[in-house]
């Protein structure tokens, strides 16, 4: 087993652990952490794949670099929404079910 395979398996491990965590945890910060690390898992897989051949493949590296920037953008936005939500209703959890709230009527 080559060291590359270790990292490939490691990335799968991170991916499923975070997928599980994303679903079971209710706290928004926890969910965003899980999503962010899931991204890292995919990047790790790509980096591992890039190292397989004789030459190191620059294409996955470029993909990962793009991915990192996308991930930080998404994380920043998600955190901002979480904060805004907290400002509005004082909780950092999503409601379990979306009630049909007729009291909030007006658009705007």
């Amino acid at each position: 087993m080559s060291p590359v395979t270790f990292y490939l398996l490691s990335s799968v491990g991170i991916f499923v652990v975070c997928l599980y965590g994303l679903i079971v945890h209710a706290h928004l910060i926890r969910k965003i952490l899980a999503l962010n690390m899931m991204g890292s898992a995919v990047f790790l897989l790509l980096t591992g794949v890039a190292r397989r051949g004789e030459l190191t493949d620059p294409v996955p590296h470029a993909m990962v670099l793009t991915g990192i920037v996308v991930a930080v953008s998404a994380t920043a936005f998600a955190l901002a929404v979480a904060r805004r939500l907290y400002e509005e209703c004082g909780r950092a959890y999503l409601p379990e079910e979306d009630p049909e709230d007729l009291s909030e009527e007006r658009e705007g």
């Binding site: 060291p3 270790f6 990292y7 490939l8 398996l9 490691s10 990335s11 799968v12 491990g13 991170i14 991916f15 499923v16 975070c18 599980y20 965590g21 679903i23 079971v24 209710a26 706290h27 910060i29 926890r30 952490l33 899980a34 690390m37 890292s40 990047f43 790790l44 980096t47 890039a50 190292r51 397989r52 030459l55 190191t56 493949d57 620059p58 294409v59 590296h61 470029a62 990962v64 670099l65 793009t66 990192i68 920037v69 996308v70 991930a71 930080v72 953008s73 994380t75 920043a76 955190l79 901002a80 979480a82 904060r83 805004r84 907290y86 400002e87 209703c89 004082g90 909780r91 950092a92």
Partner: protein
């Protein structure tokens, strides 16, 4: 043998650390662990011969993202509502908030789905893990070798470094869109109209007077490092992203330490700074269409020059964007233009 052992430990540590990040009760601690996770990922990338992205991950993935998380967790603790919103809020909500805020363990989190949901989830997720594990172990030798193609075409790309060639020439369209994502993220965050978080920031800046000294020391170094990374990118690991990330991190540090107050005025300076990288990239990409007939197809003679120009502006915009994402609050009209000049200082 030793290195194989090292790789095995590192590979094993990553999922375990991820697990710890998600299960540690204290959220601050979880974020610290997350930063450690990011650094370990960067280390493993260094081991996998990927210094470019290891650099970017350390700066952006671990550093900046970690700071963002810390900032938000702090915000969730110390945030007070603005009075204007209080009026149209139902009593129930207020009470709920009261209960959460007064709960002693904040920012401790222990809300999870019930045990039977968790148990039921393990089956499909384990199955997915096994399938993926089998898939990655049984990767065949691919029929196409892009690495070879990339190195064959490196000469025509105008730069000497593979990753930069892919990023700014072979697959520059992806990069263009990705810069768009950054710009989009800023607009989206601003559209939320958040107030500025004081809690976490204040804690950091007040508690650590040493930080000031450190930041003063670091500022020139980071600017030099950033400049070097940008310049080096054409030949070796480095480039606009890494340079931008370092400068962006510097911006965050300056804001955190209170040395620079975030730009508050809605002068167009900041907006232009944010947009210029994308605009120049898009503009050059479109303009070369006239010469070569295709979007982003640089004329061979001027390829290197154009890429450098693009990278230069990208660095500025990336740095500013990352810092702006951290600050989150949109600049406001009513503020004076005094802070405006400080923002420019950051830009240099």
């Amino acid at each position: 043998m030793l290195s194989l052992f090292f790789d095995a430990v590192l590979a094993l540590a990553l999922p375990l650390l991820a697990w710890r990040v998600l299960t540690t009760r204290d959220l601050y601690r979880a974020v610290i662990l997350f930063i450690a996770f990011g650094l370990l990922v960067a280390l493993s990338w260094a081991r996998l011969d990927a210094p470019d992205i290891a650099l970017a991950e350390a700066a952006i993935g671990a550093g900046l993202t970690g700071a963002l998380f810390l900032n938000t967790v702090g915000g969730l603790v110390g945030r007070k509502r603005s009075p204007s919103r209080e009026s149209d809020e139902s009593r129930e909500v207020a009470e709920r908030r009261e209960a959460i805020q007064s709960s002693p363990g904040e920012p401790v989190d222990e809300v999870m789905r019930p045990w039977w949901v968790r148990l039921a989830l393990t089956v499909p997720i384990l199955a997915l893990g096994l399938a993926l594990g089998w898939a990655v172990v049984s990767f065949p030798e691919p029929a196409i070798d892009l690495a070879q193609q990339a190195s064959d075409n490196l000469e025509a790309s105008g730069v000497d470094h593979g990753v930069t060639a892919v990023l700014l020439n072979f697959r520059s369209y992806d990069t263009l869109l990705e810069i768009g994502v950054l710009l989009l993220a800023v607009v989206a965050v601003w559209s939320l109209d958040l107030g500025r978080v004081r809690g976490g920031q204040a804690a950091l800046s007040k508690g650590l007077p040493v930080l000031h000294g450190l930041v003063r020391l670091l500022t020139p170094i980071m600017i030099i490092v950033g400049g070097y990374l940008l310049w080096a990118g054409a030949k070796q690991p480095g480039g606009a992203f890494q340079a931008g990330a370092v400068l962006g991190a510097l911006g965050v540090l300056l804001v955190l330490s209170g040395l620079v107050r975030p730009p508050l005025s809605d002068g167009s300076g900041l907006r232009i700074g944010l947009a210029v990288g994308f605009a120049v990239f898009l503009g050059i990409g479109t303009a070369v269409m006239l010469a070569t007939g295709e979007l982003l197809n640089y004329p061979p003679a001027s390829t290197y020059g154009l890429i450098i120009i693009i990278e230069l502006f990208l660095t500025v915009s990336i740095a500013l964007t990352l810092a702006a994402l951290f600050v989150t609050a949109p600049p406001r009209k009513e503020q004076g233009s005094k802070e405006h000049s400080e923002e420019k200082g950051e830009e240099s």
